[in-house]
């Protein structure tokens, strides 16, 4: 019963939202270039399947490569930082600084640095965006070990290596998955938005801005819709990774809900 409700409730709400949207546009006779009907967006999406699919592929590739590169770098740097207490004490200021920094806005500068005819600049932006949530979370996980676990391991005369392997790493895993989930959503947003600043015209973001320049609002919405789907896909992938990496937590979440 609960399971049915959990799946049905958002679907019903989504359908109601789309229905209200459709009704509003039709009943108020809103012009399509202001706000198209969901059905109109859907038909554009279906009619331009391969076009939109290719654009989505280009953007998704950037997002994925950036996400993976940024996350790997973040994990490595977190390991190094964990060894130095001065760096650890800087975690909060660092994360605050980077949370307020509009990394996507660096897009034009990177296009200048890496050339606007390649995807490199975009991937660098995504990697930077993905880096910080992963870095901050992994570093927290590596350093914030429960005092009772620390005392226990000391009472077992465990070596530093054993402590890292048996306590720090599994402890950090939960933080890593949290960081990855945030980074996965952010990387899609970053990959789309950075395309607004120029560069190659192959991705979803550039297609949205082009469509709007030509007043093809339903088309722009179709691209946005596929960007939303892509964001969902990345998010679900993050969740699946979490289930795979932390089987003990999965059963707990299932029991909680």
């Amino acid at each position: 019963m609960n399971r049915v409700l959990r799946i049905a409730a958002p679907l019903v709400w989504g359908a109601m939202f789309l229905g209200a949207w459709q009704w509003l546009v039709v009943s108020r006779n809103i012009k399509p270039f202001l706000l198209p009907k969901p059905t109109a967006i859907w038909s554009v999406l279906i009619n331009n399947k391969s076009l939109i699919g290719n654009a989505a592929k280009a953007t998704a590739t950037n997002a994925l490569i950036g996400l993976v590169a940024g996350s790997i770098a973040a994990i490595l740097v977190a390991f190094v930082a964990q060894r130095f207490s001065t760096v650890r004490s800087l975690i909060n200021p660092i994360s605050a600084a980077f949370n307020t920094m509009p990394i996507v806005a660096l897009g034009p500068i990177f296009y200048n640095m890496f050339g606007s005819t390649s995807d490199t600049a975009r991937r660098v932006v995504v990697a930077l965006v993905a880096f910080f949530p992963v870095f901050v979370n992994v570093l927290k996980g590596l350093t914030q070990v429960e005092p009772v676990h620390e005392e226990l391991m000391r009472s077992y005369a465990a070596s530093d290596v054993a402590f890292l392997k048996l306590v720090r790493l599994p402890n950090a895993l939960g933080y890593l998955t949290t960081g990855l989930r945030v980074a996965a959503s952010l990387s899609v947003i970053a990959a789309v938005v950075v395309e607004y600043f120029g560069g190659l015209q192959n991705g979803l973001g550039s297609r949205v801005s082009n469509a709007m320049k030509l007043s093809q609002t339903p088309k722009a919405w179709a691209y946005i819709t596929s960007a939303i789907l892509m964001g969902l896909l990345f998010y679900v992938a993050g969740l699946l990774f979490e289930r795979f990496a932390m089987p003990w937590n999965t059963r707990r979440q299932a029991a909680d809900s």
Binding site: V148, H149, E151, S155, Y156, A157, V167, L173, N249, A255
Partner: protein, 274 residues
Amino acid sequence: MTPAVDVANVSKIFNAGKPNQVNALIDVSMQVETGSFVSLIGPSGCGKSTLLRLIADLIQPTGGDIRINGKIAKQARLDQDYGMAFQQAGLFDWRKVARNIELPLELRGWDKTRRKARSAEMLELVKLSEFANHYPWELSGGMQQRVAIARALAVDPPLLLMDEPFGALDEMTREHMQAELIRICEATGKTVVFVTHSIPEAVYLSDRVVVMSPRPGRITQLVDVDLGSRVEQARESTEFFKKITEVREALRGIEYGLLAANETSRTSAGVIER
């Protein structure tokens, strides 16, 4: 015969020389006979947990000497001569119950078959065999604490150090766990040093109750208890109530002492100290 634990003239001062210096323990001496059960009791800040951590070599004394079966404390820790349990069970979320118990064995380099056999044996001892393949969060607080005790006993150490292991449990579970602990200790012949806040718990479990007082932390009284065999009826015996009164009065004496001391410091310094 060498005592299981020998604490000689031990002091522990935190933040020595700084304005926030704390004299956690001053010149404490204590011996625990092999096979006996000793409780440390006293108001907060009396250094009972500090004393336990010094015995475990989790922290180092400022002065004095601590020996476990004749070995210096550090060597005893390196040899895993003791098992330890805390107020929090401190189980590892990512390990199933059996593998939690096997952790100290892994660190000792036991092979898998031997580890499995031992964790099964320990689970039987704490009567949780059917939960071997559960994750810790699937167990109640009392069950988790039993796993923690099983883990402390897994390497078969001659000495158990316990820091308020039942402190977070409700009264019913607590009494049940006390009975279990007595049963396990009688079955295995362990020496136990047990920190607690609870007077009945200390009296029921112990051969000797060590009463401690704060500022500076020191031992003020030893109360020997002999309840005979620890059956449930022992909780209703006259000896039990007599010893509870004795410990309570020892603790009350400390309180009066503290009040008097505060009175003096108030009149001399013109401030109320707590």
